[in-house]
């Protein structure tokens, strides 16, 4: 193990702000992208069910 303690790990030799700022940015970007994708997929599937129920309604009315 190259670190003497967890404290040393978080301090990053005095450069903690920069290193963890970079890590935080990366986590935000990747996490944000994954979240946005989840929303997009959910939105697409919701839209499809809306279209399906809309066209379903029409055929039921036509048959009457």
């Amino acid at each position: 193990m190259i670190w003497n303690s967890w404290n040393d790990f978080f301090l990053m030799g005095g450069y903690g702000l920069y290193v963890w700022g970079a890590v935080l940015g990366s986590v935000s970007v990747i996490g944000g992208e994954l979240l946005a994708l989840r929303w997009r997929r959910k939105g697409a599937l919701t839209m499809l069910s809306a279209i399906k129920s809309a066209s379903g309604k029409m055929t039921a009315e036509d048959e009457r």
Partner: protein, 267 residues
């Protein structure tokens, strides 16, 4: 072999709803140009790439933060390299792949190719932003500045604007095929920027350091540091494939919302 028969079978393969892809002894690759077939293929591929991405990224970052030694000149600030370099490599690589798909869509007039280019753009743009962000955080303690208008940084920023321009052109929902073609032209014109970014540190006098890793000579950095960088880069490559495939499936659902085959997928 009867040539007419072969063309018929390819055309049927693309247009028939549920294609038997392995009917002859060879895989009908052209069948995957159909959004419906590609949708299911992509769905099967995503979990594999996601798993590889998680494992390799975790391993690479473990090497970078727990195995690689401290740098003699920069101290622990250098560890940003394990995020910065993979992000920068991917920002350039994704652009080339995106431009390739855009070119395919333009030349072969295959819609799915253009959709693939669209799916790649946001991921590429985010990696470009990440390269710039991590670079600024690395530059401040080591160069004394967050930013400098040297050739490498400026051309990477330009890469971001190219991605943004491409995505803006694609946002036209009325004339979507024309948007595909316009975007493709921008993407292709912008390809020249990628070698500029890559060679900028050789061609111009830049604050950004020169290449420590090259295809022709031995790397000038410690092996553990190099391994951390490469493994993380491979992990992020797998990630970008998984994400692009997920996004293209969303795009396909949106584009094909009135088609028969999507109705079965509704939640």
């Amino acid at each position: 072999m009867n040539r007419l028969k072969k063309e018929e079978s390819v055309s049927t393969a693309i247009h028939s709803p549920a294609v038997v892809l392995h009917s002859r002894k060879r895989v009908q690759w052209f069948a995957y140009a159909s959004p419906q077939n590609f949708y299911s293929l992509a769905g099967k591929m995503i979990p594999w790439f996601a798993t590889v991405a998680t494992m390799l990224s975790a391993l690479g970052l473990y090497i970078g933060f727990f195995v690689a030694p401290v740098d003699s000149q920069q101290g622990d600030a250098y560890r940003i390299i394990f995020l910065h370099v993979p992000a920068a490599w991917l920002s350039m690589f994704i652009y080339l792949v995106m431009a390739g798909w855009a070119a395919a869509g333009l030349i072969l007039n295959t819609r799915l190719s253009s959709l693939m280019a669209r799916a790649l753009a946001p991921t590429g743009a985010l990696f470009t932003l990440l390269a710039l962000w991590t670079g600024a955080l690395w530059g401040r303690p080591t160069w004394g500045t967050w930013w400098v208008w040297d050739a490498r940084l400026t051309s990477e920023l330009l890469l971001f604007f190219l991605y943004a321009g491409f995505m803006t052109l694609q946002s036209d929902t009325e004339e979507s095929r024309r948007a595909d073609k316009a975007g493709a032209v921008l993407a292709l014109v912008g390809v020249i920027n990628v070698p500029v970014i890559y060679f900028s540190v050789q061609w111009w006098n830049t604050l950004h350091q020169g290449a420590s890793v090259s295809l022709r000579s031995a790397p000038t950095m410690a092996t553990t540091m190099l391994m951390g960088m490469l493994v993380t880069a491979l992990g992020l490559w797998a990630y970008s494939i998984a994400v692009a495939l997920t996004r293209v499936r969303c795009i396909i659902l949106e584009r094909e919302r009135h088609a028969q085959w999507t109705a079965g997928l509704a939640s």
